[in-house]
Symmetry: D2
Subunit: 310 residues, 4 copies
């Protein structure tokens, strides 16, 4: 299949949509650096298992990957830790609705539902501090740079803004700490967490970096090297499908039918197992925190290509 024309076509449809109906949602506004990103942008990029690439629209423009980083910190933790060490304090079930965030933490005694909600990602960050200590932020950029094939860094303004306004994440981390579920100092754990959210990458860089998810764990660029095992890869894809898009995981599965992980920066990473990784970006979000046009792009893509895991 030739993907460049497909991405071009989808991007053109959405740009027309944008001009006629506007972005259909709101850009995340809780920190200035995100609030000032223009809503009317669309980018797409994909990379197939065998290395074919396609980019369309603003697909080469860096954006704040936010929660998409949770896929990569989880990968890093799965590389280094036993199943037992990793999963003893983090669940693997969908979280139900948003209102459950602290409710569920309370009922489940500080054990987050899964690694893709904030509480779960903070718990993963705590494990990474255990592995890398003071060098955890550097270890994460090194990992991302290696996967993407070029230097990846943090947007420090975003990281600082997250830190200075992240009261809810402070609440989550302290709450888990009160249950004894966080080993390291809350400030150190959150520093890593706020940095990972501030990673700045383009659709293309993300599609490359996520290449191992569509190739049974093989490193996207370094032939013969494994990022993780085939089974681990399948399991990350399964977690993305059931838990990757906030409270809309069921809706994504129903309408798009691919493992996805979204971020409030407007990016969505999608995986067609054994075939390709695909990233879309458009900053305006719906009420669930998922990119409005990003979802449309993915629906058009699966309809146009027939690619779906179901």
């Amino acid at each position: 299949m030739q993907f460049q024309p497909i991405l071009d076509e989808i991007t053109a449809i959405l740009q027309q949509d944008l001009q006629q109906h506007g972005p259909g949602g709101q850009v995340a506004s809780y920190i200035p650096a995100l609030a000032r990103v223009p809503a009317g942008q669309i980018g797409m990029a994909l990379r197939t298992r065998d290395g074919q690439e396609a980019v369309a629209g603003a697909g080469a423009q860096p954006f704040s990957i936010q929660s998409i980083s949770k896929v990569f910190t989880l990968t890093l933790a799965m590389q280094k830790l036993s199943e037992e060490a990793l999963w003893s304090r983090i669940g693997r079930e969908p979280s139900g609705t948003a209102f459950n965030s602290l409710v569920q933490l309370e009922f489940e005694h500080g054990t987050p539902r899964n690694p893709f909600i904030n509480a779960g990602a903070i718990a993963v960050a705590d494990r990474l501090i255990g592995l890398f200590g003071d060098t955890a932020c550097a270890a994460l950029t090194a990992f991302m740079s290696d996967l993407a094939g070029e230097p990846i860094g943090y947007d420090t303004e975003v990281a600082e803004s997250e830190a200075s306004t992240g009261y809810r994440n402070q609440a989550l981390a302290n709450f888990m700490k009160s249950f004894g579920r966080i080993d390291h100092a809350v400030a150190q754990v959150l520093d890593l967490y706020f940095h990972q959210c501030a990673l700045s990458m383009s659709c293309l860089q993300l599609a490359r970096a996520a290449g191992y998810l569509c190739s049974d764990g093989a490193h996207p660029l370094a032939a013969g090297q494994a990022v993780m095992t085939e089974r681990q890869t399948r399991r990350i894809n399964a977690l993305m499908l059931t838990c990757g898009t906030y409270d809309a995981a069921g809706e994504f599965a129903y309408r798009i039918g691919l493992p996805c992980k979204s971020g409030v920066g407007g990016g969505i990473l999608a995986v067609v197992p054994d075939r390709l990784s695909l990233v879309v970006w458009s900053p305006a979000l719906d009420a669930s925190g998922n990119s409005v046009l990003g979802q449309k792009a993915l629906e058009l893509f699966t309809r146009r290509t027939g690619l779906s895991i179901f």
Copy 2:
């Protein structure tokens, strides 16, 4: 791939497991007809898209399909109703943990999370009463018989027992009714619901009946006839993956990686899209209400065959 030897092998492994370690769980005991089913039984059956069949162990022995029926009542409703008419009162998101059952109904003003939890299936039953009125129970057996290629009926003892002890389902139905989410009389709706749970089928009959789920909606036995569209079929599979196994949907996706629907009778229906439908049965359940050995059988099957959607 030749599936008969694979099913034989898995059944043999599990029977050995049974002899050495016992069933590893409890048979459902809330009604006598389920409580007296011997725990130490294992059955498997599958049917491929192109009609190859395999049966092993007690795969031809009828059991109470219970919640697996929710897949078929949903299918029947999707056949006859518009998207809007069906989904306006039922969600499509995973339900989180069990404790949420009534909690979530309350927060969401009587709208059940998805059609595979009890509340959601009761809401689907209400729609079927709207379509079929007094003949709904007969319409359901006719539908099942047509799919399975032979007469399928209710275990009336089970249906009566469900009705006489189903206080929680009475509570759910009345609660939804109090929010105006149920159109018909609670007693009539629950009568259908208790009957659908009491459908008695073997692994093989179920694997045949579910054949449309692995063939883009094509009728499993009647060539050229469609049970539903390709898109509808994908969507049912997506719902099964995210919501089909009570509170263990994430765990099933993570460990098994196939759309599944389980029932407290000990059956589990699994689908490999475009390939095959597979049913396992073993009555002893884990704490989530899923068959212990059924899950093992599915794990062995995906490991042995490499079949997974991820």
Copy 3:
């Protein structure tokens, strides 16, 4: 203290208020018999420990006492049952907000928070069925008639309407039954519950009937006879203060400072321990289900008389 002029004065203030600003709330509308009661009515009546009585406005007009009946069914149950038999399945704590009704029942495995929320009153009704069987409805009217000194009966239209629309109470009763917290048939228990809500009494009749609550348990009319012990009486008053006014118990304690029990018919029973029982009635309700002008009347009364337990 001369109470007749005080009640006259308060009634006059509220009638003026009514003319200028309207009733300030909505009459209960879930059943026709309540919905058609004119909003612009005010009644008051009190009876002191030593038998002084005062009536003002529509204080002699019968209305549907609804949840005020919960005080009397609890009294009847406390008369006949041991502490253990009564309180083993009903709590004595405030219920927090309304949203908790089914949530709390679920978390607390079917044990209602207190006898003055619907679930708790249904549990009390179940105990009364245990005591009186088929004659429970008759036993309750006999008890009320004895306390009030004249025949008290049910408004059968109200009772039938409650029964035909009481889905939420059906849900509560079935839910408790599913936890094994209800001994008798749900239909029989609810029949009593719907009848008790449909008791028709005037402010004066209620103030007389509740006379034992301001006289250490002494029968209001039959000298030398006890309705309950001094300690039991104190305890009912304590329950009324902490749990008697739906989600507004804290607000009532803060602003009025008397044990109260309200009903959606618009009545509120208040007790000044050792001094008097007071009943106000005005049908328009606030969002919590308490009479708007009834609350104002009680505030004016406590401000005017200085009577408060705090």
Copy 4:
């Protein structure tokens, strides 16, 4: 009434109880300074409206007043702030069960249920920072010293331990901050909160300091001076009755029938409006966090004296 012999008698009964059955509960153990307090101690003290005092057992020995401080910080806030300024961000309803702490904060968008749960007291502390800024801790000790008639100070070891382990309070404060319900820096607000919990006072000092609660707001020691108005005083007493003893407010009202505020240091302050203030202390706690023998002492006191508000 002569109270000294009554307190002596009750203390003797409880000391005998202690020797025969042990303390019947556990001393608070979350910080070392509380954990090492010997469980087998009992103190009582009271002061009547007209200045009569009685002390028994360890009634003159200082202990950590913990949550009893919430009565005094609320008083200080009510002195200085309008009703509107104070209550716009704090409710006045009982909180239901403990599990609700964060649940309710979440449902009610960061508004704590009442000023006597931790979240509510933290919100009050935030208001006091607004009034006193950096001198808030000093202002509180000055207030307490003035009420008690002698210098009152903080146990700095306790305050520091609270600060270093108070993850749950960190979570509550950050969570409210995330809803915009806290104006000042979380660290500054919690510093005051941890200090107020660490106030060290004896039963007698507390009974004196609370004297205004049984005398319509009159300063306990300075004749003619008011701590608050009569109405404010009644309202604090009402809040203590409905919300003062964690999840056991209903039980306290039912069994003891007096406004009470307890602390995990083992103290309980009780008020007989218009009559006297009474403080009991015994460090071993029940599951709700209330002093086991303290409750027995209060039950014996109300039974022996007949004093109850109901």
